[in-house]
């Protein structure tokens, strides 16, 4: 069940880049959970390709709900949504079908599927599969919002340029999350946004691409989610985040920054804040022993530069089994971070909703916000 993830709620994705459609099925939704198509469209819009910093392949990405929704709310049975592929130009791929694209899954798909894969446009490996992830994820993002949980992601680094850090002040932090969710290009400092955009355009002009780091903060999460060991918050979210094509690293809190610290520097002291237990610092990024502690959840992923570049590359002709060169044509993203951030939000929302369901049962989806005090 490699295309399915989740325990209390599940997400299954299907489709190929140049097949008839891509889509997703969600199970485990509580009956009555609102399915807000307007909010879904807004989330899809964040993922859409726009301007010179994205591919020129644009899809309407109209989402059709086939099942599981009645009168605007989840019925509680399997919810399937489908997005037709309309703007496919498979011809772009045929001439290079046997020339393995470096950094892509062409070779590994061959080794796994023995030639039966739909190789056009990356097939099932395509970033296009993240469209149904965002559509389905929007239901969970919205659901968590109604519980007072806010999620947002910024481009913490892009093309070597750092964004400003998140604020340490809770009220300001919440404003930053809201601003990111309203923004087209999700950075905290508008000046850095311009610098990043210029760097992406410069790379694109050279037929090259750039990578970076996506940092996500979640506010309002109750303590007690997750499990020791295999079902930890980190394990659950990392498995989802590593499913984003191009993500090659995931860290929580200080992450790799922990390596050089001593325990006395790294530990987060507990303190009472009124009747709530909080930590004086948040080095652990909201997770202790695999379980949420009520502090902001902080995680980062590294997104490698898009492997589709227009420069001439050395590769192998898999049919002829000999060395060859490749120059990729077609329509590609010089950078995917600004589109991928809503994918990251969506997977985090899904993963947290699954953990909530495991902890609180289906009933958590009903009613109003948690009382955390």
């Amino acid at each position: 069940m490699s295309d399915t993830y989740g325990k209390s709620v599940t997400l299954t994705i299907f489709g190929e880049s140049h097949g008839p459609a891509v889509g997703a099925t969600v199970t485990g939704l509580a009956p009555g959970v609102p399915v807000d198509m307007e909010f879904m469209r807004g989330q899809m819009e964040k993922r859409r390709a726009k301007g010179k910093i994205s591919t020129s392949r644009t899809e309407a990405d109209a989402v059709r709900v086939l099942s599981g929704v009645y009168r605007g709310a989840a019925t509680g049975t399997a919810l399937t949504l489908v997005i037709e592929n309309t703007n496919t130009r498979s011809g772009d791929y045929t001439k290079t079908e046997e020339l393995l694209r470096p950094g892509h899954a062409d070779y590994t798909a061959h080794m796994k599927y023995g030639g039966h894969q739909d190789a056009r446009g990356g097939g099932h490996f395509s970033g296009r599969l993240t469209a149904p992830v965002v559509a389905a994820g929007s239901i969970f993002t919205k659901l968590l919002q109604t519980k007072g949980v806010a999620i947002a992601t910024h481009l913490a680094q892009c093309a070597g340029i750092d964004d400003a850090p998140f604020s340490g002040d809770p009220a300001r932090l919440k404003e930053q999350l809201d601003a990111l969710n309203a923004a087209d290009f999700a950075v905290l400092d508008p000046l850095r946004a311009r610098a990043m955009t210029q760097a992406i355009e410069a790379a694109a002009a050279e037929g090259d691409s750039v990578g970076g780091i996506l940092e996500t903060v979640v506010l309002g999460l109750p303590a007690g989610l997750g499990e020791p060991f295999f079902g930890s918050v980190e394990s659950t979210l990392a498995a989802l985040l590593f499913s984003i094509p191009a993500v090659k690293g995931v860290e929580f809190g200080l992450g790799f920054g922990f390596a050089g610290l001593t325990g006395s520097r790294a530990n987060d002291a507990f303190r009472m804040q009124g009747t709530r237990v909080v930590t004086a610092t948040n080095h652990n990024g909201g997770v202790n022993g695999g379980i949420s502690n009520g502090m902001p959840l902080v995680l980062r992923t590294v997104v490698k530069p898009t492997p589709s570049i227009y420069k001439v590359q050395q590769t192998v002709d898999f049919a002829a089994k000999r060395n060859a060169t490749l120059q990729i044509s077609g329509r590609h993203d010089p950078c995917i971070l600004h589109r991928a951030r809503v994918v990251q939000d969506s997977l985090v929302a899904f993963g947290l909703a699954d953990l909530c369901g495991q902890h609180f049962g289906t009933a958590w989806q009903e009613g109003t916000a948690w009382n955390m005090d």
Copy 2:
């Protein structure tokens, strides 16, 4: 099933640090797979506490097999192994039971289990649960060895001191893996080993602790393992690795080093090597599109400094719901990296065995090495 992981093979762990025993159940082993108790003992020995750089609590860690083994081989039905807890001194914990230890799961366990958890020694959250992980993992490590797959981990960084890097020469690399697996303190450069040990002892002398980075290399893995998206090699291994207490980040290949690169620098060119397809560089750490490509698998985890330190710390008395100070007594590790590396090896072995089973079926466990040419 938060204590269970795996699809074609499963691993379930149970037990509490100061309960009667800890143990593990493995399902999905092919009938006839050898269970080498001598090899298991050797792996357990690597995990044992030794010298001034470890806790003074030592356990015999004798593994008793309750089921699933007959005449030295797996029967194919559930294999359960148990390790009795013999050297427990719960008294060390009672006086501070309500004083939440910073960096530990005391608070989150309270929030998750509502006071019903066995809090003594961390209970189910204890690093002691990694003992059955190593015992069970030894079966998979050995099994992969018979297929020509070698796994080894070194302390790439400890207490701020870097080890030498792995060799780029395949023959030399294999020697390095063998040496690491024969070593007590797994580093590539003996001089760095001495420096690390001294740094750990110095931290211990101050009642403090240190962290670092564990880097694992796997040789001999066939191409084609793993799945696009949720079942990727990275997702599968990361979920396992994040279940190691103290791991706060996981990366593959260049990992976070990808952030600043361009696509033209980051892509691994394909080349023919005889009849095999290889990559000229291995920035992707042996994984493309979530699937193994036959190159060495390279991954790193960051291990935060042990949270149990002897310095006075600020915390909260959870019963009285007020601020307090805590000075931890008991027996604790000033560094766990040298013990944790075999836990990492074990979980990687288990995860890869699971992926092999998904790809090749149970039959992969039988017969001899893959012919990769």
Copy 3:
């Protein structure tokens, strides 16, 4: 994941009777498995409503494959197929929406989904959901055929009329299976077919309905499939068969006929047949200790009479919470056995394919028939 079943292969179904579409997703197919759309159409045709013995709601039931098939074969990634609902007359239901139909899921759906269910036409509980089961199942039925495994079901009893029993002669038995699979109304004795048809029509004329027993035989199955306890052949197939609406009992071999026997009468003696081990009798229906023994698999389900009848019935008005009477209108089947038999075939095929995958790995789907000698 209540809408998903399976381990090595999975089947997920979605949709509501009067929603936009019904469909299914299959995962775990080996790359290259043929997807024979012509065979699929034939199987769908067996399930279609026909004549006076079926509902007058007829659907074209055109199956559209959205993903997972390329050049006529499975890619190995999620295969989703969709059947649009075209002939819906929801008006038939609105006036009785709150009058619970006896024998149906109207009441239990209310209690489970709290009013959020799509109640039109039974919604997700509708027999219409068996359409995608047959479509998806056809892939497995065909696959097993290529391995030499034949599956067929007859109406062993319908409206109180018994069909002739299966032949004890293997060659004749195989002919009977082929004949059943070619027949519209699957009985072994044509005279009984006429009697059953007349009995169904007579019941229909009175606004009533009939039930019966479906008996399935599977030939050519290798020994060694299934597991002791929870994964037994019986457990796996029963869980699937009880998901057919109206099935209230499942038995294997002599089934409930075992109750009055002694061990000496019930045991199947083993005998050598050339180099193969066979049993002299087949009271156990091809399964010992939960595992297939290579003899014909024999199972029976009881299908209760269709609860939708046109007679006046006593019931409850769920909105008003008071007793009421109900006279069902709309279009309904006076008997579903002749349509359900291909649903039973399909679920048996799916269940066996899953067990084969667990035993042989994905690779079993490739190549040719097993050599059972």
Copy 4:
């Protein structure tokens, strides 16, 4: 994961009849659920062999809890319990190890495990594995009792002799369930008990064995449990019940008695009873559309006669691959129904607890009885 079952709670069993121990692991228990060792012992006692109607192998069956229980209650982490095998006489089996016992799993185990199975005493296929099922099941039986759910099973038929039927009067029915749970030999009519016992002894005297039917009634179950299709109450319980060695059929409500009825006879009319919806009859055995309707759950299994008989039987020498005769020695049950009924209770309790957990979340395990009005 063939040795594991369940979604919200899981049950894993391990062990072989003549290995060191048998045991079980339970996950998903809510923290704080009482683990009543006295009640567990009582349930184990019901399963113990007693008198001439059972095997002379008796085991102390002392249950040792290794993990997951602290201060008399579940911690919420994996609960493992172990029962040592003490009274093993493997010598009884060695001489016939290659003579396949008819009706047993000797042959199929060979075909599945290729000779690596522990064949002594049936190994993992042994009825001895039901001991940990009862031990673990007692936790769920007790838990359901505290919610007002009562479960009991009687020998509805044994050796061809029918017990009296359950009463249709609710108050009397509850008394009957209590009496069954207090009885050693679970029948409703003491005269039939004597007749059955005599018939078992008569069969035993001839070296033969008998079978029968176990009927279970569950009172107090809330409406709304289970799922349409694959997760139906019937699917969930049937998969568990078919894992009992010797069960060859499962039916709900009228079961196979539905075959000859018309819809107008079979349908259960809904009626108001105060503010509750009930059915006038209970032909569907408490389940509509796969979901509990609040009426008594009624199910029956058929238990084939114990295959271990002392008469000379025809069989095959699997090593020599030739026909042979077999006379079984050792210690065996001439009838298992009176011991198996508590196994059936235990599995039903486990299955219902799992369905409750899926519907209500873990929280259902806490607090008191449901308010069903």
